[in-house]
């Protein structure tokens, strides 16, 4: 049992349980230590995949169809590395953030552990039903994290989120049941050759249900209604985890299923998905330009940035440009959004205000945090040399190669809109502060974690070759 595949799921389950047993708010140090180990495991797994290609792991020695198979390929290895790489700095951040024993910390470490176990399992699952189980685990842990603050606003947001998550899961499960009825299997590998464009109506319906459920969970326009209150209302480390990782999990599923299993059917919905992506970019950016709350601005920006991920579908082609673009965007946005929520958390603690107006003067007082916010913003705008820039470059190149001009305009306009809302914040920060504004010191570790995450999203743009070779390995 030294396979990193199993340990990536067991380890977070273990520290989540331990944190629960230790009592409310305890377990931070254990979590950080374990996350360090998880990072190592994920990197080792990625190295294995580069060397040996995709592989499966039969849990407990019992493979499918009796037992459970776990599988890892280039895409899942990348997502695993990303998840651990974002979770580790956020754990360090959260430890300082919750140092005063806010109510939200009571179950934070437990729920985060389950969330990460669910995410890791989701990236490794090899059949539709296990995917459902992991999806449910991720959804429930995330709802718990949003609700943990306990204020009326947070509970209301959590209930909305719960509703969306459950409806999404049920639709997905219904789809799985229909597939099982039609083909008698839920294994992705077995299903792939069975599905073609002449599939029976039940499979088409199943496919549609699963897609709709996953879109609801990914919060793509017009299913985004639950996201801004949930991500904008939760404590900063929770918002960061949710925006950076959780919505990416359901996107990963859509991408993977449409590539590996339902490719013959997915093409019909591709243009519609792209259009929804474009609408998400426009609507999310517009709302981010209008809101007066800084955290809501970041949450609406997530709605907009998720739109880019869906632009990938109409451009998917054997040249792989669009797939690379989507994955690059998922990674870059994950790092940048984690950094941005972390930075905003610091700024809100320091100024004691949650509005843009309250930010006047932070450029002079908290340059490091503002710099982190700015770097993360550069990634969102898609300016070089960030990872977001490479994603955008690849998207434009894919669109031009296929002669689909419209998407080029969407990508370019989206970048300018992002610049407009990011500079709303930066501009405010450069204003002179009113002399009497209060200012609370914030632990340096929080400032630095935001900075590290932002720098990572920036430097990612220089390491595209390594990422793409991992993505290509085992696919």
């Amino acid at each position: 049992m030294t396979d990193p595949i199993a340990w990536l799921i067991l380890l977070p389950l273990f520290w989540a349980t331990a944190a629960f047993l230790l009592g409310p708010g305890r377990g931070a140090r254990l979590a950080i230590a374990a996350l360090l180990a998880q990072c190592g495991l994920a990197l080792q797994l990625a190295a294995d995949v580069i060397d040996g290609g995709a592989r499966t792991h039969a849990v407990g020695g019992w493979g499918a169809p009796l037992g459970i198979d776990l599988a890892v390929g280039g895409l899942s290895a990348l997502m695993l590395v990303l998840t651990q790489a974002i979770a580790l700095p956020l754990a360090v951040y959260a430890r300082a953030y919750f140092a005063d024993g806010a109510p939200a910390v009571r179950y934070f470490w437990t729920l985060t552990g389950f969330l990460l176990a669910g995410l890791n399992a989701l990236f490794l699952a090899a059949d539709l039903f296990n995917l459902y189980v992991t999806l449910e685990l991720v959804g429930l842990a995330a709802v718990g994290l949003v609700a943990a603050g306990g204020s009326a606003r947070q509970v209301a947001a959590a209930l909305r989120y719960l509703f969306a998550a459950l409806v999404g899961s049920v639709m997905y499960l219904l789809g799985v049941a229909l597939i099982y009825g039609a083909h008698g299997t839920v294994s992705l590998q077995t299903l792939a050759p069975l599905v073609d464009a002449r599939a029976p109506a039940a499979v088409w319906i199943a496919c549609g249900l699963m897609l709709a459920g996953l879109m609801l969970k990914t919060a793509i326009f017009p299913f985004h209604y639950w996201l801004p209150p949930a991500h904008g209302g939760a404590p900063a480390p929770v918002s960061a985890l949710l925006s950076a990782l959780v919505v990416k999990a359901s996107f990963y599923l859509i991408l993977r299923l449409s590539l590996e299993v339902f490719a013959p059917l997915a093409a019909t919905a591709a243009t519609a998905l792209g259009l929804l992506g474009a609408a998400a970019i426009a609507w999310g950016s517009w709302q981010a330009l209008r809101t007066v709350h800084i955290k809501m601005l970041v949450a609406w920006s997530t709605v907009a940035q998720l739109g880019y991920l869906f632009l990938v579908f109409p451009l998917l082609a054997p040249d792989g440009l669009a797939l690379q673009a989507g994955v690059m965007q998922a990674i870059a946005h994950g790092l940048a959004k984690a950094a941005m929520f972390a930075a905003v958390g610091v700024l809100m603690l320091a100024t004691g205000r949650d509005t843009l107006e309250g930010l006047a003067g932070v450029a002079g007082r908290m340059p490091l945090t503002l710099f982190a916010f700015g770097l993360a913003g550069v990634t969102l705008m898609g300016l070089p040399p960030s990872g977001g820039f490479l994603a955008k470059w690849l998207l434009i190149e894919a669109a031009l190669t296929h002669g689909q001009w419209g998407w080029v305009a969407v990508v370019i306009a989206g970048g300018l809109l992002a610049a407009a809302y990011v500079f709303r914040v930066l501009r405010q920060a450069f204003l002179l502060a009113p002399a009497d504004s209060p200012f609370h010191p914030v632990p340096r570790s929080m400032e630095w974690t935001a900075f590290v995450l932002a720098t990572a999203s920036m430097l990612l743009g220089l390491q595209g070759v390594e990422l793409m070779s991992l993505l290509a390995a085992g696919s």
């Binding site: 450029a363 002079g364 070089p384 690849l394 190149e397 031009l400 190669t401 501009r427 743009g461 070759v465």
Partner: protein, 503 residues
């Protein structure tokens, strides 16, 4: 890593590393900060000198890093790169000295000098970019690094200037990006090459290439302040004087003009561009810009705003020279890239001196400034005469080559444009000189901050840089025929861009 690779990265690092260290320095560490700034500036100058010697001896310096399969970040030093890099490195040293004096005692200096260093790093990157992708990376980095400098004072005016600046430059960047990705799709990742690389595509792509040219030139035209994309430049003059110097002479508008040269000479190739009928429209835009900028400058009472419109006009001399088909016009455009830089930076240094020493911001307040500040006004006068193209100044050299170039290209109207602009230049500069030298000084200056001490009219650090660049303005003309003048270097470049023989 080979020595040649290390050398070229060291040029970028010589401003990037001090800049990053300065960001984390406490505000009170004045001496360390100054040391770092000057160390970086001098080290860069020495490194550029080494490269200059190497390139003229035929040495090749380059560095390549692959960011995506088929997409390379390429930094290399060729003759054209070094023309711009040398100009920026020299002027950066003077601007740094000036900024240290100018900002003495003001808040947020660590932030200022940090971004200042980033700006110069980006400019060096633009100069030495080896392909369009790399050019774009540094071009956008320059936009981002300049914004905090433009809004440095944090006043509502500064904020407005900054927002306008961003709106223009990011919009231009978007057009540029579209054009670059388009070309990338057609040719793959190709490095800049003497004589261009697009002619290999053949005549079938003519229409596409004309459209891409429009995108690219509009993209770089924003920074080069081509009319009608020039609106940001007069707004951005609210920035502190060293930043204006940076915007107008060292980095930003120069990056735009330099981009035009790279695109025309080393992407399309000047002969191929001519065959696609691209040069005449470009010359027409440049001509409109030259006349319009000079015309608008006539009506500005704010000194820095008048200088800003003057920049709009003068930078397009470079574009016009590029668009005049023929080696003589090319030399004129290239050499004016350098000459405009040293003359305009002198003018902005002097404008800053008037504002900092006497509180004089308007042309109408300059009466008698020549008696109170003779050395500053002398430097200002030399640079202003240079802008008009007076003999024995750098401006005369540029103008002579441009006029010959216009004649050689058979575009006689371009010659008339240049003459009109000279007359307009005289019309907005001579009144300033007359006021400063001939009118009596007022009893009290608007806001005198630095009292005169004997013959020293203001702080040494404010006085030396404009005097030095004013001397360079004359030296560039007097020693134009020496082997190391900007003119000689421009002729070397032009010789490499045309397949035919050189004059």
């Amino acid at each position: 890593m080979a020595l040649n690779e290390a050398l070229i990265l060291a040029i970028l690092a010589s401003s990037l590393v001090p800049g990053l260290i300065i960001f984390v320095l406490a505000e009170s560490r004045i001496r360390l900060r100054t040391t770092l700034n000057l160390f970086g500036a001098v080290a860069k100058l020495i490194l550029v000198g080494v490269l200059l010697a190497g390139v003229s001896a035929g040495e090749i310096y380059g560095f390549r890093h692959t960011v995506l399969p088929g997409l390379d970040l390429v930094v290399k030093a060729d003759a054209l790169a070094l023309l711009f890099a040398t100009l920026s490195a020299v002027l950066w040293l003077f601007t740094t000295l000036y900024a240290i004096g100018y900002l003495e005692g003001s808040p947020h200096r660590s932030r200022f000098f940090g971004f200042f260093s980033l700006c110069v790093t980006a400019t060096m990157g633009i100069a030495m970019a080896g392909n369009l992708f790399t050019f774009f990376v540094f071009y956008e980095l320059l936009t981002l690094a300049t914004y905090p400098l433009v809004v440095h004072r944090g006043t509502p005016q500064a904020m407005r200037g900054g927002t306008v600046y961003l709106a223009y430059t990011l919009g231009g960047g978007a057009l540029l990006l579209t054009g670059i990705v388009w070309l990338h799709g057609l040719t793959g990742s190709v490095d800049f090459a003497h004589g261009g690389y697009l002619s290999a595509l053949g005549p079938d792509y003519g229409g596409q290439l004309q459209f891409v040219f429009l995108l690219l030139i509009a993209g770089v035209g924003v920074k080069a302040a081509l009319v009608p994309l020039h609106g940001w430049l007069p707004q951005a003059m609210v920035a502190p004087a060293p930043v204006s110097a940076l915007l107008h002479a060292v980095a930003v508008v120069k990056a735009g003009a330099f981009g035009v040269e790279r695109i025309v000479y080393e992407v399309y190739g000047v002969e191929f561009a001519q065959s696609l009928d691209l040069l005449t429209p470009l010359a027409a835009v440049a001509a409109v810009t030259i006349v319009w900028g000079s015309f608008r400058a006539l009506f500005q009472n704010d000194l820095k705003k008048r200088l800003a419109y003057s920049t709009v006009s003068q930078v397009s001399y470079i574009v016009l020279g590029t668009a005049l088909f023929g080696p003589v016009g090319t030399v004129g455009g290239l050499v004016h890239l350098v000459h405009q830089g040293i003359m305009k930076i002198t003018l902005f240094f002097c404008a800053g001196n008037y504002a900092e020493t006497l509180g004089v911001h308007k042309v109408s307040e300059l009466d008698g400034a020549g008696r109170r500040m003779p050395l500053t006004t002398l430097a200002f006068s030399i640079a202003a005469l240079g802008m008009m193209g007076a003999p024995l100044t750098a401006g005369a050299v540029s103008k002579a080559w441009l006029l010959d170039g216009a004649a050689e290209a058979g575009m006689h109207w371009a010659g008339w444009v240049l003459w009109t602009s000279s007359v307009l230049n005289a019309a907005y500069f001579l009144p300033i000189l007359w006021r400063a030298w001939a009118r009596p000084a007022p009893a009290v200056w608007p806001e005198e901050r630095v009292p005169a001490r004997g013959r020293i009219e203001t702080l040494w650090l404010l006085l030396l840089p404009p005097l030095a660049t004013a001397i360079m303005t004359i030296a560039a003309a007097v020693f134009a025929d020496s082997a190391w003048s900007p003119l000689a270097w421009a002729r070397l470049i032009a010789a490499r861009e045309y397949s035919g023989a050189m004059p």
